[in-house]
């Protein structure tokens, strides 16, 4: 056998009987199995790693903080109930990015002011009153 280059040429080899336990693979075979295993593991690991990295990047893109170009949207007061949300900033990806950029249309919530009564006050101090006289 190639694995026994130093075996004397005259020595007779006895084939193993069926009941005999098969010979354990030699060091070279073990090395091959080990190498294959390592390669497989590395391949799977890298694939999983890339997958995780890609998922993480996509997640980061979709979780870009939404902008409120209208500060009134953050107002806790019930009126004028105008709010707007935009995810247009999700396009802010560095030019070196290799992952696909998912472009979505801005989503704007449209609301109109609620029709309700005004609340009367208790101050009629004329010194600083505002004038209401039509659109002038």
């Amino acid at each position: 056998m190639m694995n026994d280059p130093l075996l004397p040429p005259t020595e007779r080899r006895i084939p193993p009987t069926p009941t005999q336990r098969a010979r354990r693979p030699g060091p070279a075979m073990s090395a091959k199995i080990l190498a294959t295993g390592l390669a497989t593991t590395a391949t799977l690991g890298l694939t999983a790693g890339y997958a995780f990295a890609r998922n993480a990047q996509e997640s980061q893109l979709t979780q870009t903080p939404q902008t409120h170009s209208d500060p009134a949207a953050n107002n806790a007061q019930p009126v004028p109930n105008v709010s707007a949300q935009s995810n247009a900033n999700s396009n802010n990806v560095s030019p070196n990015s290799v992952s696909p950029v998912v472009t979505t249309a801005p989503v704007v919530e449209i609301t109109v002011p609620t029709l309700a009564p005004a609340q009367p006050g208790t101050n009629w101090n004329g010194a600083n009153n505002q004038p209401s006289s039509g659109s002038r």
């Binding site: 170009s69 209208d70 500060p71 009134a72 953050n74 107002n75 806790a76 007061q77 009126v79 004028p80 105008v82 707007a84 935009s86 249309a105 801005p106 989503v107 704007v108 919530e109 449209i110 609301t111 109109v112 002011p113 609620t114 029709l115 309700a116 009564p117 005004a118 609340q119 009367p120 006050g121 208790t122 101050n123 009629w124 101090n125 004329g126 600083n128 009153n129 505002q130 004038p131 209401s132 006289s133 039509g134 659109s135 002038r136």
Partner: protein, 295 residues
């Protein structure tokens, strides 16, 4: 914590705007208010060719991308036109221009409309899409006009509160919005002036909400403008004022009252308060108007 009070006034949107703010940073907030008012003027003026309103008016039925605040304004217009049975109608700009109301009162700018522009009886066919587009039917044009001023007052007041103001009063040419933080109960006094001689006819106190006043001769200044620019106004009415939760709604309902002076009960059925000044100088008001006035 020291709360300061600051006020200022400038001409924006073709009218005198007065802003008063109670806040730690009151001076800064007053400046912010006028910056936002100018921004809204650039969006909604029919005298600015690049405004959203001008672009919509000249889109010839095509889809137009607009600012989200314009989208809300158009949606508010639609709802106001429906609620007021068409008395508030922002599509009557072609008729208004035909009467001579094409020129700005503060500059030499002129409104230009497509030749097919015409008034509509409904805004039901106006499409406002969440992706930021508005599509007007072919031939429809819009005038932000009074409701734009009322809505601007609402937006500015809300912005100021969100930036730390304790109480604000935003007056955009007579469309006044007042608002306060829940723990800051300030009342604001408003003088309702006669559309005939500018005398104070009623003094109103508001803690939260808005008052809008419309006058038949609102666009008549120094013999410049038109004498009767409010289309559909009843021939006995000189001017009206309405109290509502917001400036946009108050303004829309003034158009209803201008056209329907016997509509005070309907106004009151919504919890709104109204005040009418007739051409002959007499007045009338909803029964709840006195809740806002000094007895």
């Amino acid at each position: 914590m020291i709360i300061l009070s600051a006020r200022d006034q400038h001409t924006v949107m073709g009218v005198t705007c007065r802003v008063e703010v109670d806040a730690i940073n009151a001076l800064q907030l007053v400046d912010d208010a006028f910056s936002q008012l100018r921004e809204l003027e650039a969006l909604w003026s029919r005298f600015v060719p690049t405004s959203d309103i001008s672009r919509l008016n000249n889109a010839n039925g095509m889809i137009t991308h607009v600012d989200h605040r314009t989208m809300s304004l158009v949606e508010t217009m639609k709802m106001a036109m429906t609620h007021t049975h068409g008395a508030f109608n922002p599509t009557r700009l072609p008729e208004q221009i035909a009467l001579g109301d094409s020129r700005s009162l503060t500059s030499n700018s002129v409104t230009t409309l497509p030749s097919n522009a015409t008034a509509f009886l409904s805004m039901d066919d106006v499409c406002v899409e969440p992706n930021g587009t508005v599509q007007l039917p072919l031939g429809m044009t819009l005038d932000a006009g009074g409701i734009g001023k009322g809505f601007a007052a609402d937006l500015v007041a809300a912005t100021l509160l969100s930036r730390g103001a304790q109480s604000v009063c935003v007056n955009v040419g007579g469309d006044i919005r007042v608002s306060s933080q829940p723990n800051h109960r300030r009342s604001w006094g408003v003088d309702v002036l006669s559309p005939i001689d500018d005398l104070v006819l009623s003094v109103v106190s508001l803690r939260e909400g808005a008052i809008a006043t419309s006058a038949r001769s609102a666009r008549l200044r120094d013999d410049h403008g038109v004498d009767n620019h409010i289309q559909g106004a009843h021939n006995t009415v000189a001017g009206v004022s309405v109290l509502a939760s917001t400036g946009a709604w108050a303004e829309a309902w003034t158009k209803f009252l201008m056209a329907t002076p016997d509509g005070l009960p309907e106004l009151e059925s919504y919890g709104l308060a109204g005040f009418i000044v007739f051409i002959n100088g007499s007045t009338n008001a909803t029964s709840n108007w006195k809740d806002f006035t000094e007895c």
